[in-house]
């Protein structure tokens, strides 16, 4: 890592990173959050976790701008004063980076703070590679993995090569590309519940492609998509491990994969 990652070029101190853990990771899969902390600390950052709930995206995408604004203000207040804000999710990072400025576009009182926060907010793998210059992670994982590019990370933040570069630097990992890896998995937040028939058809197409790769592990950078794909694979009775890419990059794969039964030998 390069120490010049501290804004202002203060070479004497570590970058102070606030982890935006995301509500899904907070509630469903905390191990992803700890993997993110390990990756950030290994790369030389000091990590803090401000008290937080949600970025407001579900309200924003449901047309409830008022609630979205309230939650965005809460995030902006809670994440003041850090060098960077990093989320193990392209979707939530994209909400802060791409959509907060839109949400506050006609509010000159808030806009400068909003833009400042947006400018220092990153998705985890792009922060490691693009900002910190990490080229290698010190972990190993035995297996053939495939990777799904979650939509917001890919199209709002340009996250595509970063996770692949980090995976390629690991011992033991073979990456097999997923056909149509850039096509939505059908999650779409409340879409998966509101239009479950359509969402079911889209995720079905996705899991077919996943099976075709022959990979034993499916990775992605967003827990929403992962829960959707893992839930479908589990319903189909497929024995493919599904994990957040951060868990593998951090070498923290002791917890059972997403939607998998607990290994009785460990419980």
């Amino acid at each position: 890592m390069s120490v010049s990652a501290v804004p202002g070029g203060d070479r004497g101190r570590k970058p102070r990173v606030a982890l935006f853990v995301t509500c899904l990771v907070d509630l469903i899969r905390p191990s992803v959050g700890f993997a993110a902390v390990k990756l950030l600390e290994d790369a030389g950052c000091t990590v803090d976790v401000p008290v937080q709930t949600c970025c407001g995206q579900p309200a924003f995408n449901s047309g409830d701008r008022g609630t979205a604004r309230d939650l965005a203000e809460q995030v902006i207040e809670a994440f003041r004063g850090y060098d960077y804000v990093v989320a193990p999710s392209g979707s939530c990072a994209g909400m802060i980076k791409a959509h907060y400025p839109e949400l506050f576009a006609d509010d000159p009182n808030w806009l400068p703070r909003v833009n400042a926060l947006a400018a220092r907010t990153y998705e985890l793998t792009s922060f490691l590679v693009d900002v910190l210059g990490v080229t290698k992670v010190d972990a190993s994982y035995e297996g053939t993995v495939t990777y799904h590019d979650s939509c917001s990370g890919l199209r709002e933040l340009g996250v595509r090569s970063q996770p692949r570069r980090l995976l390629a630097s690991m011992e033991g990992v073979t990456l097999v590309e997923l056909n149509e890896s850039d096509v939505c998995c059908g999650f779409g937040g409340t879409f998966a519940v509101k239009y479950s028939d359509i969402s079911g058809a889209i995720v079905d197409a996705k899991t077919k492609h996943v099976s075709e790769t022959g990979a034993s592990t499916l990775l992605a950078g967003d827990l929403g998509c992962l829960m959707n794909m893992a839930g479908r694979l589990s319903r189909e009775g497929k024995e493919i491990e599904v994990r957040h890419v951060a868990e593998v990059l951090a070498g923290m794969t002791d917890d059972p994969p997403i939607a998998a039964a607990r290994d009785p030998r460990r419980s």
Partner: protein, 477 residues
């Protein structure tokens, strides 16, 4: 409101489409062809991205001065000997067109492909008044035989297979040998051509749409691959151009720029096979062309989009790239959307034209994956505009009650971090315990939509924030 809509029944339409094995197969074929071809065409043109910017800017400029360009265009059409009719509504457009047909003593009317003619439902109107409309674009001809709407804006019959078309031809073309071989697609094409050739020659009026109207010259431009549009507008004595007001562009230079992104985005062609410019009726000395040239300019709600965030939608040049790249369109096809325009562009445009109370599902039936915006040649922020519709629905209390109450409950906790921490700790503790062995739930109350198709992964138990504070306080102690 013009053509009958089934958009309010979008969910039922979608369920039906998902269960239609033949349709699903046809949609599977659509998917790859269009996407790969567009990709290759875009990669071959180094300035493609710059041209998209330019196309966006040209359309933005035109929309900002649309009144001036409409007047300039009208003047030029008149100067070239043509007539311009402004239609505020579909009804007005229909009666103007019927009037022109009656003046021409028309019995049959040939038609080039035009989505605006679908929007105003002109075929039924003409039929009801004794004028026979004949679609001449192959896809449009097929769906006219089936009394269907187009399921795609540039490939109207993309939901059908060759066997279905063969059945329709045998049903309708009863004057031909019943034992003829129609097993090859090219035989279907030849038959359609033969049948249509007589129709072209017999038609009294030809109606075409327009991809562009050029203010500088009063020219209408159609972009086609079959040549049927040319025969439609050249052979009959009267040519009617039916176009909506946002088709205007200032100059021929502007058109030539936008044309470079249109076909590439649509079909992956560098240019379509025919790009035909027509300016006014036949002049003395011209070898061919119509004696009468009419332009019917349709508003039908578009001018009320100007000056709102939906103005951006009026940049659309109808290439179809958004639906070609849409996972929802791939899953349910065009008819499920229930009106004229399907896919992401339809999800934004339809509520503007028929009302969000009727078309409210369409902007909601999107995962916001953003693939449509990433390929739109005029860079329309389609997901953002769909979100704007969701905002209007929320304001007007059109959002379903279950979603509203779910959001309200969740928002209540999310705005109170201390309470949120307590509540989520308790809830995740319970869920984590309940799902501890299997690691997933096959059924959960309040999540039936989710668990109908997939399991719900069990939470690990303790929340991240709880465990973090516990471990950090131990570390610092």
């Amino acid at each position: 409101m013009t053509v009958h809509t089934t958009s309010p029944q979008f969910k039922a339409n979608a369920a039906q489409a998902l269960a239609d094995v033949q349709l699903q197969k046809a949609l599977g074929n659509v998917k790859q062809g269009f996407i790969d071809k567009r990709q290759k065409a875009a990669e071959k043109l180094p300035e493609f991205e710059a041209l998209r910017d330019s196309a966006r800017d040209i359309k933005n400029h035109t929309l900002a001065h649309l009144d001036l360009y409409l007047e300039a265009y009208e003047d030029k059409v008149k100067a070239s000997g043509g007539h311009v009719h402004f239609a505020r509504t579909a009804e007005e457009a229909r009666s103007i067109i019927l009037g022109i047909c009656r003046d021409a003593g028309a019995r049959t009317v040939t038609k080039g492909k035009s989505m605006i003619s679908e929007e105003i439902g002109i075929n039924h109107h003409l039929e009801a008044h004794g004028v026979v409309p004949v679609e001449t674009d192959l896809g449009e001809y097929i769906i006219q035989l089936r009394n269907e709407m187009p399921s795609h804006i540039i490939a109207p019959a993309v939901h059908l297979n060759a066997t279905q078309v063969e059945q329709d031809f045998r049903r309708v073309h009863t004057h031909l040998d019943a034992k003829r071989d129609l097993s090859e697609p090219v035989q279907l094409l030849t038959e359609a051509r033969t049948v249509l050739r007589e129709r072209f020659l017999a038609a009294d009026v030809g109606i075409t749409g327009a991809n562009f109207l050029v203010a500088e010259t009063g020219t209408s431009i159609i972009v086609t691959n079959e040549g049927n549009g040319d025969l439609t507008q050249i052979l009959p004595k009267t040519h009617i151009v039916l176009a909506s007001i946002e088709k205007l562009v200032p100059t021929l230079e502007d058109v030539s720029q936008i044309l470079r992104v249109l076909a590439r985005s649509a079909t992956g062609q560098e240019m379509s096979v025919y790009t035909t410019f027509s300016t006014g009726p036949r002049r003395p000395g011209d070898a061919d062309g119509p004696e009468n040239y009419h332009v019917v300019l349709l508003d039908n709600g578009r001018s009320s989009m100007l000056g709102t965030s939906f103005e951006e939608m009026l940049r659309c040049i109808r290439c179809g790239a958004c639906m070609n790249h849409c996972p929802v369109y791939h899953a349910v096809g065009g008819h499920a959307y229930g009106w004229v325009y399907p896919g992401p562009m339809g999800a934004v445009l339809t509520p503007s034209l028929i009302g969000v109370d009727k078309a409210g599902h369409l902007p909601n039936a999107s995962t916001f994956c953003g693939r449509c915006e990433s390929v739109c040649p005029v860079r329309i922020p389609l997901p953002k505009l769909m979100r704007h519709w969701r905002e209007r629905e929320f304001e007007r209390h059109l959002t379903p009650a279950t979603i509203r109450s779910g959001l309200r409950t969740w928002g209540f906790f999310a705005k109170r971090p201390a309470l949120y921490r307590l509540a989520t700790r308790a809830a995740m503790g319970v869920l984590g315990l309940a799902g501890r062995t299997k690691g997933r739930f096959a059924w959960l109350p309040l999540a039936k939509g989710w668990t109908k198709y997939r399991d719900f992964p069990a939470p690990q138990g303790e929340t991240f924030q709880a465990r973090w504070r516990r471990e950090r306080s131990r570390r610092s102690a």
